[in-house]
Amino acid sequence: MAEVTHEGQIPLTTRQGKHWASAYAWPAIRKFIVTKPLGAIGGIIILLMVITAIFADTIAPYDPYEINQRLQFNSPSLEHWFGTDEFGRDLFTRIVYGARVALFIGLTAAFVGATGGAILGVTSAYLGGKVDLFLQRLIDVMLAFPLLILALAIVTVLGRSIPNVVLAIAIPIIPRTARIVRSNALSIKEHIYVEAARAVGCSHMWVILRHIIPNVMAPYLILLTAQFGNAILVEASLSFLGLGTAEPTPSWGLMLSGSALAYAERAPWVAVFPGIAISLAVFGFNLFGDSLRDALDPKLRHRT
């Protein structure tokens, strides 16, 4: 194990002088790939999606916003791999740029929602008493709303800008993570070392940061990865309903709304490719999240 210095920082090299990455990270990753092949496939899909999003400008052959009516509904060809849409925009280009939109909204919303939920859950568990009771009631109430309906209501009130869509996806995630993190934090709170830390005079803040939070990291990470795919799906659904991101943003869900169905018979590619993109992205995140849960969850870890 790495030594902990007085400043409480873990040094980047082990006693044998190996860098931490080669000592811990690579073996852990290698083990994950060998024992969880499905998770590794998910990881590869995510990696490809991230690369696509980052290098969208280089990968995409055309401008995602350029309208050219003469090219309306061109079928897939060597020039336009996935064909063109009703405004003559290159579908492949728009799907490549769509990875950016999906990743940005999905990752931010899942992060905001899961982190908000984790903070709420830890607070609720640690403070206990009336605060806990109140927060639990509130979470119960929030859970009574279907995720999509709640997100729709929030977008209606706030408007359709990208930050608002992120918020609308994040808020319904909060109660779902808060409840699980709270139950984890509750059991940690009962451990002797927490009591000992309090007894030697550590402040509440110290106990939370030093003892509770590191111990709820695993469930938090599991919930976070599980929500990535979910958030991408909710964004696509909102956009599909015409209540998420607005035109001309290249959002996969938006590409499938309205005209895609109306002209599906004439231009089926418009209805097919964005759906493949959504499904593949969510599939990758779910596959990865699933295997991560198996790898991190101590309750399931040692089963044969």
Partner: protein, 319 residues
């Protein structure tokens, strides 16, 4: 048992009131106010005729104190007075009477189909864990979860239109009027929703069965030399089914409140579509009421599932 039921029903009241409060607050944090949103100034902050604003405000009772607005709204819902739609002009209750049976039918048949697929498939994956059967089932179920409902719907419609000259129905025929016509109308939405839910329940069945299979009494059953079919059917499934029932109930509840997307694809006039239409028509009072009603439906179905659970599981005591 009766005492338990009454207690559970009474416990619903604070949750429902809380839900009403959350929806009410949500609809009143609009920058400006609801009247502005209805008049279309929500997003652009464009010019609004002040006389129009006053008129709409008065009509919605927005000139009254907030607590008064809240209680008159809740009291209206308690008396089943859901107000009238600003856009159709019809009473919301009337709309619900038409739309409820449709959503209910799709939800119930989709749940049925998904259960029939999920329980055998999930069990099979669990008892053959880490074999190709398990991997296959897991890939199919994770795949099912990854494919959005609206895309499955679009592909189905595309397929039906091209190969069977099918067209989406214009008028809904109820099950009692003409069962065959009704079946033809609803079978595709039911398959779309059922497939996705089957994916969800399969995963849960798999993990529930896996959990039970680690118990000591299962090892005992094996040690006694019982056949696999008996260990699985009598010892494992019976115990694994309880959490699965809860999840199936919860899924059904969410379908009742959240069939928004599927109803949109198949142009079905159900409850979910009503919410979206109300939003698109800026009919905020209806949105407010409908969001609350979906929460009510969910809380109510969850109550029934809980009672069923308590009734099925002898280990739960009614306190």
């Amino acid at each position: 048992m009766w005492q338990y039921i009454v207690k559970r029903i009474l416990l619903m009241i604070p949750t429902l009131l809380g839900a009403a409060l959350v929806v009410f607050i949500l609809m009143h944090v609009v920058p400006g106010d609801i009247a502005m949103l209805i008049l279309g100034a929500g997003e652009q902050g464009g010019d609004v005729n002040l006389l129009d604003l006053d008129r709409v405000r008065h009509k919605l009772g927005l000139d009254r104190p907030l607590y008064e607005q809240f209680f008159s709204w809740v009291w209206g819902i308690v008396r089943l007075d859901f107000g009238t739609s600003l856009w159709t002009g019809a009473p919301v209750l009337e709309e619900l009477r038409i739309r409820f049976p449709l959503t209910f039918e799709v939800a119930i048949f989709a749940t049925l189909i998904s259960t029939l697929i999920a329980i055998p498939l999930g069990t099979l994956a669990a008892i053959r864990q880490d074999t190709w059967v398990d991997y296959g089932v897991r890939v199919i179920s994770i795949g099912g979860l990854a494919i959005p409902n609206f895309w499955t719907g679009i592909l189905l419609i595309l397929f039906l239109v091209i190969y069977f000259q099918w067209s989406p129905p214009l008028v809904f025929v109820s099950l009692w009027e003409d069962p065959w016509e009704n079946f033809k109308q609803l079978v595709w939405p039911i398959v779309t929703v059922g497939y996705r839910n089957a994916a969800l329940s399969t995963r849960l069945t798999r993990s529930a069965v896996l959990e039970v299979m680690r118990e000591d009494y299962i090892r005992t059953a094996w040690a006694k030399g019982l056949r696999e079919s008996i260990v699985v059917a009598k010892h494992t499934l019976k115990n694994a089914m309880l959490p699965v029932i809860t999840i199936i109930g919860a899924e059904f509840a969410f379908l009742m409140g959240g069939l928004v997307v599927t109803e949109t694809v198949f142009t079905l006039n159900g409850l979910g579509r009503f919410v979206v239409d109300a939003i698109l028509h800026r009919d905020i009072p209806v949105v407010q009421t409908m969001v609350l009603l979906t929460a009510f439906i969910i809380v109510f179905i969850n109550l029934i599932v809980d009672l069923l659970y308590a009734w099925l599981d002898p280990r739960i005591s009614y306190r």
